[in-house]
C-alpha cells in the first residue's frame, strides 16, 4: 500500500485528503469509526509534521483497521499489543509522531496489562480508544466495559462482570492525559485530538460510540440530542462546571462529594461552583467517578466530557535518551571498545 505523492514537507501544505490511503474503509455503515477517522485526517495537517513522520499502530478489532485507511506509515499488529508495539517504535524513533487506534476489547481486555504499564511509563503516544462497550468484530460478545446485566451472545442471562471505568483506570495507572468525547462531537473531537497530539506523554482519548449492529444504544441515555445537555458536562480549563439545556445547573464540591445544584433555585453564582483544573489529580479522580453507572442506572451527576486530566511528566523515551546522552557525555563507545570490554587481559 503506497501513496502517489508524499514529497510535501511542510505540514500546513496538507489537507485531510492527503492522509487518505487508497483503501476504502470497510466499517459498517453508521459506525462511529468513520467519523473518528475523518476527524483524525483533518487534525494531522494542522500539526506541522511531515507525512512520512507519522505512524499509526493498532491491534485487532474494528477500530484497529484504522491504520489501513491512513496514508502514513502503519502497522496492524496482533490483538491487544498495539501499545507495546507503539512503545517500541517511539523508543527507537522519538522523532516520529506515533498514534494508536484501539478499542475496549483490544486495550482493556486482552491488552489490559499493556494498557496500565504504558500509561505509567508515559511514552509520547496519542491513543484513541474507541469504546462501544461490545465486541463487534467477533459479533456481539460482552467487553470489559459492557454494563452489568446486558444480554449478549456470551451472556444470555446478563453480564455479571463489573465493568472497567476507563478514566479511573487510566488515572490510577499513572496516565498523564485523559480526555473523553463522543464520536459525533465533530470539530470538538478535532480540538481534543490536537491537544492530545501536543501533549508530551501518553494522551488517551476515550471515544464513546455505539455499535450500530450489536450495541447501538450504548450511550443513548446521555448522548442523544435531547439528553446530552442534561446528562453531560463539557469541561473547560479554569471554567466552572455548568450544564443543562438552560445552563442553569452546576456542580459544587462539598468536601469530597460532588453535588448538583440549581443556580437559580438555590441562589448561587458561578463563583460557588467547582472550577475545572485539569492538572488537579484529586479532582480528576472524582470526575472520573461521576456517573459511574456500572449497570446503566441513571446518575444524578452528569458525565464529564473533554480533558479530565493533563499532567506534565517526562516521557519514557526522553528519560531513556537522557540516560544515553549522559553515558555518552565523554563520547560514544566504539566497536573496538565494545569487543574489548572492561576485564580483558593480555597474555604475553
Amino acid at each position: 500500500m503506497t501513496e502517489k505523492d508524499t514529497t510535501v514537507t511542510a505540514g500546513s501544505m496538507y489537507t485531510a485528503k492527503d492522509f487518505a490511503s487508497s483503501q476504502e474503509p470497510k466499517w459498517c455503515p453508521g459506525c462511529g469509526d468513520h467519523a473518528v477517522l475523518q476527524q483524525i485526517k483533518s487534525t494531522l495537517p494542522d500539526l506541522g509534521i511531515s507525512k512520512e513522520n507519522f505512524a499509526f499502530i493498532s491491534g485487532i478489532g474494528c477500530s484497529s483497521r484504522l491504520p489501513y485507511y491512513m496514508a502514513t506509515y502503519g502497522v496492524h499488529g496482533i490483538h491487544g499489543r498495539a501499545l507495546p508495539m507503539a512503545t517500541g517504535l517511539k523508543t527507537a524513533r522519538p522523532d516520529l509522531c506515533v498514534w494508536v487506534a484501539t478499542g475496549d476489547g483490544d486495550a482493556l481486555s486482552i491488552g489490559g496489562n499493556h494498557f496500565i504499564h504504558t500509561l505509567r511509563r508515559n511514552p509520547d503516544l496519542n491513543v484513541i480508544l474507541l469504546n462501544n462497550e461490545i465486541y463487534g468484530l467477533t459479533k456481539g460478545q460482552y467487553s470489559p466495559t459492557t454494563k452489568i446485566g446486558m444480554r449478549t451472545v456470551t451472556s444470555p442471562s446478563g453480564v455479571i462482570d463489573h465493568p472497567f471505568n476507563t478514566a479511573s483506570l487510566a488515572i490510577g495507572s499513572g496516565g498523564t492525559f485523559f480526555a473523553r468525547a463522543f464520536d459525533r462531537d465533530g470539530k470538538y473531537l478535532r480540538s481534543l485530538f490536537t491537544r492530545a497530539a501536543k501533549h508530551k506523554g501518553m494522551s488517551l482519548v476515550e471515544i464513546y460510540q455505539g455499535c450500530p449492529i450489536f450495541n447501538n444504544s450504548a450511550f443513548e441515555a446521555f448522548a442523544s440530542a435531547e439528553a446530552k445537555a442534561e446528562h453531560t458536562v463539557y469541561l473547560e480549563q479554569g471554567k466552572p462546571l455548568v450544564f443543562g439545556a438552560a445552563s442553569n445547573k452546576g456542580i459544587k464540591l462539598e468536601g469530597f462529594k460532588p453535588v448538583v445544584v440549581d443556580l437559580q433555585k438555590e441562589g448561587l453564582s458561578l463563583s460557588d461552583l467547582w472550577v475545572h483544573d485539569e492538572a488537579d489529580i484529586n479532582k480528576a479522580a472524582i470526575l472520573a467517578r461521576f456517573a459511574d453507572d456500572v449497570a446503566g442506572e441513571e446518575s444524578s451527576l452528569p458525565r464529564p466530557m473533554g480533558i479530565l486530566y493533563a499532567e506534565d511528566r517526562v516521557t519514557y523515551e526522553d528519560a531513556l535518551t537522557a540516560q544515553i546522552e549522559e553515558a555518552q557525555a565523554k563520547g560514544a563507545g566504539t566497536l573496538a571498545e565494545l569487543l574489548k570490554g572492561e576485564n580483558s587481559y593480555v597474555i604475553k
Binding site: 514529497t7 491512513m70 499489543r81 496489562n113
Partner: protein, 626 residues
C-alpha cells in the same frame, strides 16, 4: 597425558595437563565468587579454561541442606578444554551437604578439601546423614584423599585483628579456601588482591581482610604438614600471546547484538522480560548505553517481543531474549514478524521444560518449538550456538541473517552455555562479517509507487523505514497481496505467499557456509552429529575415540533451518549416525524427516549437560554393533 614431578624447596610440584575443580558449599558460602576468582587467576595466567556454575533456583534455599548447595566447577589445562570436566579431580566441600550432593562426580582417588565446621552435628543432620554418622570419620571416603581443614577457625585466627565484626570475618572463609587452592596449584594471590581492592573500593578494611584471608589460606598450605605427601600441582599456561577476555554465553550474546548493530550502522533495541537463564543478556545490554543501546524491560514476554517488532518497523536492529516458557508466550508475535517480514533476533536460552520445568537447568528443549511452534506455515531460520564463545558468533550471525534476509531469526543457546565461561581472544572489528541491511532509499515523485512486498533475487523484500519520504505503507498480520502488501483474502494469493515465505527462508542456504566435519575422517563408520551445547562433550569424546583408533567423526550443526546444502552428502558418508541431545529426541526426528534416513538418537534429559564419558561409551557401544 603424563604427569611429571619435580622437587622444589616447598615440596614436590607435579605437572598436570588439566585439572577439574569443584567449589561447593552452601548458597551463602560465596562459592560462585570463589570459583570466579580462581577462574580469573588461571585465565590471566594463560590457561585454557571452561567454567560452569551450578546453583539452586531459590535465592536463599534452606541453609545446610542438599537443596541449598551451590557449586562452581571449572576445568583448566595446558591444552584446549571444552567442558568443565566430566568428573572433578578436586572438590572443596564447605559443608556436609556439598559433599553428599557431589561426591558421586569426584574421580576415584580425587582430592577432597573439607571445611570441618560444616561437618558438625547440625550440618550433618541438615544434610540428611543418620545420627552419629560423619563421612569424614567413618572411613566411607577411603577411595579419596581427604584433607580436613578447620577453615572457619583458621579464618577467625587470621582476621582477629582485622576490626571486622565476627559475622564479617566468618564470611571471609571462602577467601581462605581460595588462597589454599592457589598454593595447591602453584598460583599467586596478587591478581585477586587487586580485584578485591577494586571490588571493595569504598571499604578498604573489608578489602584488606579478604586479602589477608587469601594469604592466610596460601600460607596454611605452605606451613601445614598435611599436604606433605601430596605436594603441589602445576598446570602450565599455554595460550598464545594476545588480548583475551573471559565471557559467559549470555555476555557473548549481548556483546554480539550490540556489535552487529554497530557494524550494520543501526541502533540496537532489546525488548525483554526477565527470565532465568536468559536475563543476563538484558542486564548486560542495559549497561551498554555508551554504545547507544536501548533496552526496554517490558511488562511481560509478549510486550518484550512486540516492542521489538515496533522498533524493527522503526529501523532499529531489534532483538528479544527469553527462555522456553517465554518463547511459548512470544509465539503469536513470532508469526507476526514472519508475515511482516521484518528483521528480528530472538535469543532463546533453553532450560528444562515443560512449563516452569527446571529453570536453572539446561536442556535442548525448544528445537521443535523453534522450528514448528507457530500458527500457520511460518518458517523462520533457526541457528544454535555450541560454546560460550560461539554464542557471540552465532548471535552475530542471527543478526546478519535477520537484517540481510528480512526475517525473524531464532538463535538457540541454553542455560549451560549461558552461564559457562571460557577465554575469548578479543575480536578485531575488521574481522566481523559485514552486515548490509536492505534499507529502501527515499522515493522521488517521478518514481513508481513503492511496493513493500516486491522481492529481490533472494526473495527478500526491502525495509522502508518511517521518516523516509514516499515510502509510507501499512503492513500487519493480515495476509498480504503479493508485491503491494494490501490486505488480500484471495485463495491463490495466500497459496503463493505461503510458498514465497518458505522459499525465502530456504534460499538462505545459498549464502551460509557448507557443513564442516569438526574432527575425524570424511568417511567412516560412525558420525556423531550434534547441535548446541553438547559440542564440548562430543568434541572431547571423539578426540579420545580417535586416539583409540576408532572410525568416528564429529559434525556440529549451527544452521538447523535451513540446513547447510551439503548435509545430505555428509550423512551418506557414514555407516551410522548418532545424534546426542539433551532432550527426548528432537533433531533426530528432523533429520529422519528431512533426509529419510535412520539416525540413532541418544537422549539425556536429566537437566544436566552431557559429559565426554557418556558420549565415548555410546560411541564404543555403537561401533561394537556394526
Amino acid at each position: 597425558m603424563t604427569d611429571t614431578t619435580t622437587t622444589s624447596r616447598k615440596g614436590n610440584i607435579t605437572s598436570k595437563a588439566s585439572v577439574s575443580v569443584l567449589f561447593a558449599g552452601d548458597s551463602g558460602d560465596g562459592m560462585q565468587l570463589t570459583g570466579t576468582q580462581f577462574a580469573n587467576t588461571v585465565a590471566v595466567r594463560g590457561s585454557e579454561l571452561n567454567t560452569f556454575p551450578n546453583f539452586p533456583s531459590e535465592i536463599r534455599a534452606p541453609a545446610g541442606t542438599i537443596s541449598g548447595v551451590s557449586g562452581f566447577q571449572l576445568q583448566f589445562g595446558s591444552k584446549p578444554v571444552y567442558t568443565p570436566g566430566a568428573k572433578f579431580d578436586v572438590m572443596i566441600a564447605m559443608n556436609s551437604a556439598a559433599l553428599k550432593a557431589n561426591i558421586k562426580d569426584l574421580h576415584r582417588g580425587g582430592i577432597i578439601i573439607a571445611g570441618t565446621e560444616g561437618f558438625d552435628e547440625k550440618n550433618l543432620k541438615l544434610a540428611g546423614y543418620p545420627a552419629g554418622v560423619n563421612p569424614l570419620e567413618d572411613g566411607s571416603l577411603s577411595n579419596y584423599i581427604v584433607f580436613k581443614v578447620p577453615v572457619l577457625q583458621l579464618t577467625r585466627e587470621a582476621l582477629k585483628e582485622s576490626g571486622l565484626s565476627s559475622r564479617e570475618i566468618d564470611r571471609c572463609k571462602n577467601m581462605f579456601v581460595l588462597g589454599l587452592l592457589y598454593w595447591l596449584y602453584n598460583l599467586t594471590v596478587e591478581g585477586t588482591a587487586e580485584t578485591l581492592r577494586a571490588k571493595f573500593k569504598k571499604n578498604p578494611q573489608m578489602a584488606e581482610a579478604n586479602i589477608k584471608a587469601v594469604e592466610a589460606g596460601y600460607n596454611f598450605g605452605d606451613e601445614t604438614e598435611i599436604f606433605a605427601n601430596l605436594g603441589r600441582f602445576d598446570v602450565a599456561p599455554q595460550k598464545q600471546h594476545g588480548l583475551y577476555r573471559r565471557v559467559t554465553g549470555n555476555e557473548a550474546s549481548a556483546i554480539a547484538l550490540a556489535a552487529a548493530a554497530k557494524k550494520a550502522g543501526l541502533e540496537l533495541f532489546l525488548g525483554s522480560y526477565p527470565i532465568t537463564p536468559a536475563t543476563e543478556i538484558l542486564q548486560n545490554l542495559a549497561k551498554m548505553k555508551k554504545w547507544g543501546v536501548k533496552t526496554f524491560q517490558a511488562e511481560d514476554e509478549i510486550a518484550g517481543i512486540v516492542s521489538s517488532i515496533g522498533a524493527s518497523f522503526g529501523g532499529a536492529l531489534a532483538a528479544t531474549n527469553t527462555s522456553g516458557p517465554g518463547l511459548a508466550l512470544k509465539t503469536e508475535a513470532l508469526g507476526l514478524a514472519v508475515i511482516m517480514e521484518i528483521p528480528l533476533v530472538i535469543v532463546n536460552v533453553q532450560r528444562g521444560g515443560p512449563s516452569t520445568g527446571l529453570p536453572t537447568k539446561p536442556e535442548q528443549s525448544d528445537l521443535f518449538m523453534a522450528l514448528y511452534g507457530r500458527h500457520g506455515d511460518a518458517p523462520m531460520p533457526v541457528i544454535a550456538a555450541s560454546s560460550p564463545v560461539d554464542c557471540f558468533y552465532t548471535t552475530y550471525e542471527a543478526a546478519r541473517i535477520a537484517l540481510e534476509h528480512m526475517t525473524p531469526v531464532l538463535c538457540l543457546t541454553d542455560g549451560y552455555l549461558a552461564l559457562s565461561s571460557e577465554p575469548w581472544e578479543v575480536e578485531s572489528p575488521d574481522n566481523l562479517a559485514e552486515i548490509k541491511p536492505r534499507i529502501q532509499p527515499a522515493r522521488k515523485p517521478e518514481d513508481p509507487p513503492y511496493l513493500p512486498y516486491k522481492r529481490d533475487e533472494n526473495l527478500v523484500r526491502s525495509w522502508a523505514i518511517p521518516g523516509t519520504p514516499g515510502l509510507e505503507h501499512r503492513i500487519g498480520g493480515l495476509e498480504k497481496q503479493n508485491e503491494t502488501g494490501n490486505v488480500s483474502h484471495d485463495p491463490d494469493n495466500h497459496a503463493l505467499m505461503t510458498k514465497l515465505r518458505a522459499e525465502k527462508v530456504n534460499r538462505i542456504a545459498d549464502s551460509i557456509p557448507l557443513q564442516a566435519i569438526d574432527n575425524g575422517p570424511e568417511k567412516g563408520d560412525l558420525l556423531v552429529l550434534g547441535w548446541g551445547s553438547s559440542y564440548g562433550a562430543i568434541k572431547t569424546a571423539v578426540e579420545q575415540a580417535l586416539e583409540q583408533g576408532l572410525s568416528v567423526a564429529h559434525a556440529h550443526l549451527r544452521y538447523i533451518h535451513p540446513f547447510p546444502k551439503n548435509l545430505k552428502t555428509i550423512l551418506g558418508n557414514y555407516k551410522k549416525i548418532v545424534i546426542p541431545e539433551n532432550n527426548n529426541g528432537q533433531l533426530v526426528h528432523v533429520i529422519r524427516d528431512t533426509f529419510l534416513i535412520e539416525p540413532v538418537g541418544y537422549s539425556k534429559v536429566t537437566g544436566l549437560p552431557f559429559n565426554e564419558m557418556e558420549i565415548l561409551d555410546k560411541i564404543t557401544d555403537l561401533l561394537k554393533e556394526l
